[in-house]
Symmetry: C2
Subunit: 631 residues, 2 copies
């Protein structure tokens, strides 16, 4: 952003807000901001989403879920992806605004990315994040913000919003009343690090306040964590929006105030200018009661209108106005999507069975093989064309593929009169040269409170095991002594101990987006060498971990966990024989001793005294080549 | 069937049954027949389904739903389809029996076809039938039975079961206690005609007794309708199986008996040899109480084992044992499926907009455009590859297709924070040369009691209207004055009055199977001329019809309905300019005066005194050609 333009946006906002009555100003602080016709301001709904593609707004390129994109360890590619996303968002906004106003999921203010730390694998929303490491999260988050917000000197392409500030990662069932207790070290080193990094390096327009309390203060209305740390310490200059309904939680669930008017005043006074939910309907009362002065209101609304001017909402000559719907799901974005999907897949084990020979007899088995929902994850758009894992393998192998659903993904008891799918799976496996088992979780088993139907866990997982019907089918298939490639599709760690011991190859696929099936097929058959790395630890059991409610980092993540794991953070194989040689602390040599050309990401760790990621670089390295990498 | 072989099967059955104890015999009369190891008889579950492809048994070629196949008016093709289905069923059976027994949906005894008369469009299961006309139903049913049962002299390929005998067509919510009252004329002319025709012309192995009563007698245990009419009058020689749980209904819901033992005895004594459900667990009691004698039991079990011998279940050299899994979803079946799907689509109106020009800008809009469930209908298998309507159009048009979901298929209220899909649809339509609106119903809105979640209607429809969200979207789209092709996807009549008035073209697609999208695209773009005809009347309103519970045919179906309709039974256009000229009562000339080559079905009606289908022939007729058709 050029500072002259920035000053101009501020000036225009100041002038426009200056013409508003108090009531008009207060109404503009709600996410459903009404029109002010006499001032030429159209109605604008601030809520939009684009975690891994424009979401909840019809067709869009659906990229891999955030956790999968994190596995690429490729911020440069993520920035390009974010650029494609904001291109599609702009195209849609341009079409929607012709209706004269902008409804929910139609605007330019994106409540993405989610840069919370995936500190516990049970958290249902962990797959929205970039994993358990603050350094990786910060770098991926910053890249995403930059790509979204664009590079124009005068206008922001879309607003990025860092969420959820802060110390937010379940339990989902308690999020409206939960108090996350955290010490200074964990706060800065783990929970705030990526927020600070993104703010300093990518200048996001906005931050979203979380539902929970932090050490007793409501995250959306906190003198310490908002006013002092976010604004003063981190120098954040944007606006803060509350999570949806979070302000009313302050009186209703956190019981920190008596009334929504008090909650609203507390939030605004501490720097939360925009409210998703209904609480700011009470701002008028708050002002009347003397809990909030008009000056603070005016400053808040000026911030919001500065953002809207910066987005070019009131300028017909904003260059982004020319982006047409042709960009939505265009071929270029599809190719980009497939590239990201390829990079998001992690090869965990390979005894040499991979890559598969094209044309061999393959049994593709499991509830995730032909499932659309696992491509899409949550906070997703709708792909008008998509490729499941099964379809990807079918297209690639050109026949000779037998599919069997095998079992339900979880729980549901099979009644006496229901279909019994196990035997078909056994038959398919018996008749195949190789079995590709597609198991794991689905977004219906891990997600957000209210969105996921898994009983009392409200979106969180109770353990790290494969759901029972899959365990049973897995055992049946393994009895056949066929070569097995295990594809784990999930947004979080699943206990793959047995699979690591027993299967010929194990891949982690996350939720791979609309091109996921094709990308996986390309890797299975060796058109590309896998190159992803785990952005989270794959533990053996939730029993090895501290209480889910305990926000101390003690014995959590690769940094502090003391027990044995199945696959460590950063694990990921390729099809090449790679040797990594550290020459000094800041210089490494990577040697590809054969196999095939591949991408490879060098991770640099420091020990302070715990292990700590402090650098990573992705290189493309050909067979026989040696590459020197400097940090 | 060669009569010598038939005698041999009977003889072998007699001998085998002769070695059984009474308890063993009684157990064989349950659908879950246990093994009798000392006699070398494996456990066998009699329940299998193949209404439009092997169902509930994993992957299979999923043909169009029965109502769609009826629209083809092509019994010869249906017979070929049934042959493909039984081929897949045999292949699966051969694989399953290696497990040593045969579980539910793995056997050779198919509880298909459903030849009930679709007398009222509100019936949720109507789409399982061949429509409202007994003559068409009889001919399609017979063709299906023949194709299923095969042409071997010695062995039956699979057993076909005519269901539900008889006078069965809703309401679903009352089926377990309903008494269908019907007079002699309607009984023979409408409700029994197709059963008799199929029995005489196709010799089905089995008949399934319905849940309901008929004029006070339980269909599964009726002296009049089973013993007297089915066996004696129609000369049926096969076995009768009860619908699932229907025997217990006799005491529990129909209150015709006091105990399940009495119900079971009543059923067996009237010719129901096989029980799906638990009632025949009480047969031992029934015999002990003197309600049933062992001779009757022995005869019943001999019938059942005759069927099993006839199926070759005890012969290693049965030629059908050699059918391998390679036939399941093979290319030949896929092509056959697409051909049937093409013939099942009915062009209801065309002002000349169809066929579409390839490459034009198309907006494909609506909740049925990219929905898998509408391809599959109910009693379905799982296609390992399928093509939705959207995908069919995308593949065919090669780009230039914009998709918008548009609205939910029915009911669900859109919450303030949910996705709002309407505007995207309007945008897509605005930017297109032509709009293809894919609306109608889904199997979740019409189906069987217990399977469908539509509140108190238990699978039936409360009216014939498009669900409200679709009506609203339809109006929005029509306001744009774009050319609109309306594709109604449903298993039953929907009121298309407005569409007929306002849209440029209207097609009825039924539930078109795994190849449905490709077949529809081929028709939309003119690779094939449509040739289907409606097997049911398309009424304007359910208010024009008698009470749903009233089984009198008065004012029902094209034969007796007196009011105006939107599209009559038999309606269906082609892309050719066809003239039909009747030379005498039994001879017609069909002239193709131009346009394109097409299939065309000539319908022959008699007036006795009501209009009555009494013949139909499908011909392929080239441009300029005249074909003489003799009946």
């Amino acid at each position: 952003m050029n500072m002259d333009y920035e000053a101009l946006h501020r000036q225009r906002a100041k002038e426009l807000v200056g013409k508003m009555t108090l009531a008009e100003k207060l109404a503009q602080m709600r996410y459903e901001a009404p029109a002010i016709e006499r001032l030429g301001i159209p109605a604008y709904n601030w809520w939009n989403e684009c975690l891994h593609g424009v979401a909840r707004s019809g067709c869009a390129t659906v990229f891999p879920q955030a956790i999968g994109m994190a596995a690429s360890f490729d911020p440069a590619l993520l920035e390009t992806v974010a650029g494609a996303i904001s291109e599609e968002a702009r195209a849609k906004y341009n079409a929607y605004r012709e209706f004269g106003d902008t409804q929910i999921y139609q605007g330019l203010t994106m409540w993405s990315p989610n840069i919370n730390i995936f500190r516990d694998p049970r958290w249902g929303r962990g797959h929205e994040t970039y994993g358990e490491d603050p350094y990786l999260t910060g770098h991926m988050g910053a890249a995403f913000v930059k790509g979204l917000q664009g590079y124009d000197e005068q206008y922001r392409k879309v607003d990025a919003t860092l969420k959820h500030y802060a110390v937010h990662s379940g339990p989902e069932s308690e999020r409206h009343e939960f108090d996350a207790r955290v010490d200074e070290k964990d706060l800065y080193e783990t929970y705030l690090w990526a927020f600070r990094y993104c703010i300093e390096h990518a200048h996001p327009s906005a931050v979203m306040g979380a539902y929970n309390r932090i050490n007793g203060e409501a995250a959306c209305a906190s003198p310490t964590y908002l006013k002092k740390i976010l604004y003063q310490e981190f120098g954040f200059e944007g606006y803060v929006v509350s999570d949806c309904g979070a302000i009313c939680d302050i009186n209703e669930h956190h019981k920190l105030t008596q009334t929504p008017a008090e909650s609203a005043a507390l939030a605004v006074n501490n720097g939360c200018q925009l409210n998703c939910g209904d609480a700011y309907k009470w701002l008028k009362t708050a002002v009347a009661m003397g809990l909030l002065d008009e000056e603070t209101v005016t400053a808040a609304v000026e911030k919001l209108f500065t953002a809207r001017f910066r987005l070019g909402m009131f300028d017909e000559d904003c260059p982004y106005n020319r982006i047409s719907l042709d960009v939505v799901e265009c071929e270029e974005h599809k190719q980009l999507n497939r590239k990201m999907a390829r990079e998001s897949i992690v090869l965990l084990k390979n005894d040499g069975i991979l890559p598969l020979k094209k044309g061999c007899k393959i049994a593709v088995i499991g509830p995730n093989a032909d499932d659309k929902s696992v491509l899409l994850a949550n906070y997703n758009g709708t792909p008008s064309e998509y490729c499941t894992i099964l379809r990807g393998i079918q297209e690639y192998n050109g026949g000779n593929v037998r599919y069997a659903y095998g079992c339900h993904v979880a729980g549901k008891i099979i009644g006496a009169w229901d279909e019994h799918p196990e035997r078909e799976a056994v038959i398919a496996a018996r008749n195949a040269d190789v079995v590709v088992l597609c198991m794991g979780l689905q977004p219906c088993l891990e997600g957000e409170e209210g969105e996921v139907n898994n009983g009392s866990y409200s979106g969180d997982k109770k353990d790290l095991e494969l759901p029972l019907p899959q365990q049973i089918l897995y055992k049946e298939i393994m009895k056949l002594n066929k070569p097995v490639v295990f594809v784990n599709v999930s947004g979080s760690c699943v206990n793959l101990w047995e699979q690591d011991q027993q299967c010929n190859a194990v891949l982690q696929c996350f939720y791979p987006g609309a091109e996921g099936g094709r990308a996986l097929a390309e890797i299975l058959f060796g058109a590309y060498s896998p190159s992803g790395r785990l952005p989270v630890t794959f533990y053996r059991s939730a029993d090895d971990l501290p209480d889910f409610r305990d926000y101390s980092m003690e014995n959590r993540t690769y940094k502090f966990f003391k027990g044995p794991v199945v696959y460590p953070f950063g694990h990921g194989l390729t099809y090449a024989d790679i040797q990594e040689r550290w020459i000094d602390e800041k210089t490494a040599e990577v040697i590809n001793r054969g196999g095939m050309d591949t991408d490879y990401t060098i991770l640099r760790f420091e020990y302070i005294p715990h292990k700590n990621l402090c650098g990573f670089q992705r290189v493309h390295i050909r067979t026989g080549e040696t590459i020197r990498v400097e940090f």
